[in-house]
């Protein structure tokens, strides 16, 4: 927006004169008018959802988008910025969820137990991420993908087997601290026609924490550390020759990404007041994350915002459209099956393949290209 046209690349760590917005976004501006507009629209809509729409479904969708933005952005730190594919991201997501769920269920619905649960989950995630990274990244980056897949599957099985701790397949339901319960009222009068209750506070807790984590991730990828990660992604051998310890940097990236995913998991559990294998640990969520990153755009944090928003909306509303289409084609063999509402993943999968081939930058890359 305010970046000078003489410098097409924002290759300027030291330039800090862009004002508040540039500072918040770590000098990594959207660099496309359409993209800025879409991001602004998503931000405003997410910020104002409880006041704009009535009923619980829109707020639930908005909360899910917030959580997934953090989750997808943290995954993009690995996939887009470091160039390594992990399949254990849902494991860290699940650890966050279970940390909150187990702590609040066992130790009572207070803020301190939530904090203890979160800290324990963060510690566990960090230890696991370091262990996986050191075991697999020192050999070959491609081992990392396979080993994370194995470890994540083991974690999912473990969570459903250790039912006395995790609640098994049923998961855990728990009470939130009083200030976040629906019965809580901040003011006795409604504000702008909406009652400020605990549910709304819970939404804003999710929103604000997501925003902060997202901005922190944006800061990290635009720091010198983030530049080294990108250098390793582009040419591992050369980065090593320049004196950067590739294993250490990649392991650090996977730890940071794991911690952010853990926070996302904790937010998810707080919002749902429940955590189980299907909401945080399942492999299908991992596939969803992959789709969101690639369709939104790898290697840009804004891709995570677009990807998550697009995907969650599609998940909620595309199926309705496909149901109508399927009903319209009822007589023809196979065709109605292909656009049956349950087959929506088929089309997103095809879109995913096309994105990898034709638009490696995803939606964001496309929008930025359109500008220049």
């Amino acid at each position: 927006m305010t970046s000078s046209p003489a410098l097409p690349l924002p290759f300027d760590e030291t330039r800090r004169r862009g004002g508040l917005l540039t500072g918040l976004l770590s000098s990594d501006l959207p660099r496309s008018r359409a993209l800025s507009f879409i991001l602004l629209a998503i931000f405003v809509l997410l910020a104002a959802t409880p006041f704009l729409f009535s009923g619980s479904q829109p707020v639930g969708t908005a909360a899910k988008i917030c959580v997934f933005i953090v989750l997808v952005a943290s995954y993009d730190l690995l996939l887009g910025y470091s160039g390594i594919v992990s399949f254990a991201h849902t494991m860290f997501f699940g650890i966050g969820g279970y940390g909150i769920a187990i702590a609040l269920e066992r130790m009572g619905p207070t803020w301190s137990s939530a904090a203890i649960g979160l800290i324990a989950a963060l510690a566990l995630s960090a230890v696991l991420a370091i262990a996986i990274g050191l075991l697999s990244l020192r050999v070959r980056a491609i081992f990392f993908s396979m080993i994370t897949l194995a470890v994540a599957t083991a974690a999912a099985v473990l969570a459903s087997q250790l039912s006395e701790i995790t609640g098994g397949e049923d998961g855990l339901s728990f009470q939130l601290p009083p200030a976040l319960r629906p019965a809580f009222r901040l003011f006795s009068e409604p504000v702008f026609g909406t009652m400020i209750n605990g549910r709304l506070l819970a939404y804003y807790l999710v929103f604000v924490v997501s925003l902060l984590v997202f901005l922190a991730l944006l800061r990290i990828v635009n720091s010198p550390f983030g530049r080294v990660l990108q250098a390793i992604r582009e040419n591992e051998f050369r980065a090593e020759a320049l004196g950067y310890r590739v294993v250490a940097y990649r392991t650090a990236a996977s730890v940071i990404s794991a911690l952010a995913a853990t926070i996302a998991g904790a937010l998810m559990a707080l919002w749902l007041r429940y955590n189980g294998p299907d909401t945080t640990l399942s492999f299908s969520i991992m596939i969803d994350i992959l789709l969101m990153v690639v369709i939104g755009g790898m290697g840009t944090m804004y891709g995570a915002v677009i990807g998550a928003a697009l995907f969650v909306l599609a998940q909620s509303y595309l199926q309705v459209l496909m149901g109508a289409g399927s009903a319209a084609l009822a007589g023809i063999p196979l065709l109605p099956n292909l656009i049956h509402p349950d087959r929506w993943l088929l089309w997103l999968g095809a879109l995913f393949i096309i994105s990898v081939y034709a638009f490696p930058g995803g939606v964001v890359g496309r929008l930025r290209q359109g500008k220049s």
């Binding site: 897949l149 194995a150 473990l158 596939i287």
Partner: protein, 340 residues
Amino acid sequence: MSDMAAPSSAPAELPRAKTDWLPLLLIPALGLLALPFVGSPSTWVTLTVAGLAMGMMIFLMASGLTLVFGLMDIINFGHGVFISLGAYATLLVLGPLAGWALSDSIGLNLALLGLCILVAMGVTALAGAVFERVIVRPVYGSHLKQILVTMGGLIVTEQLIHAIWGASPIPIPLPQSLRGAFVLGDIVMERYRVIAVVIGLVVFMGMQLILNRTRIGLLIRAGVENPEMVEALGYRIRRLFVSVFIAGSALAGLGGVMWAFYRQTLTAGMGMEVMVLVFIVIIIGGLGSVGGCFVGSILVALVANYVGFIEPKLALISNILVMALVLVWRPQGLFPVARR
């Protein structure tokens, strides 16, 4: 494993590659180690046969993938869907020939199994050819894109299976005479597992023969070690690779049939579930090594069986532990082949 024929007693006078016996010794060592913990010898035999059968099935599914990786440096995360596809292809045979499965004649039952395998291998070979052309070919050379695109292929193909055969699990009965078990004294061996061991051994020996005793096998092994050199000598390595990819897919289909009759239910995700084991096996064996893949499969399956019997809770993570231990011992896997 080019050294099966090497005289084991001869010291290093001949310029032949020395056989690396240590990983092979792991299997009997593991068996003996487990014996005192299991207790009764008859249970031990049952567990070992079951483990061997499981190992053979994993080997069938993994061998194609490891060759493809060794030859062309392509990692195919969509390999699992060929397993599912092979499993679903049995329905093409079981549908019209349902009577054969119910008859008591062992000949008819085995013929049915053979026919299932043939059809499944045909279907998956065809699917493999299409998959290679459409999904894999545009992304040679970039691991990141390969992982992403083959995952995309996996999603789409899995959904297509759902669209064609429906989303709910389909039960498939084991042919009549393949059910039950052989009983020798105290020892109980399920018939189907014995058959799985036989088929696995036949395929393994067939692969060893082709790889070590034929011209095409020589080319494949040379291609795994140094593809540029083979190409420079005037062979079309790309064509070789496509045929190996197709053969690998067909082997996955074969493994899928065996796995389907073992589970006796079909789900589109069944291939992806077993892929975790397949990847562990490939990492343990050393990427690109068929022999390592064989040893790794048996190792993983035996450990899973013994641990599952001795301490069931530990069985969930025993595979990961085996993998971690092997990687600490030999970071490139038991038999490192592809040096890239």
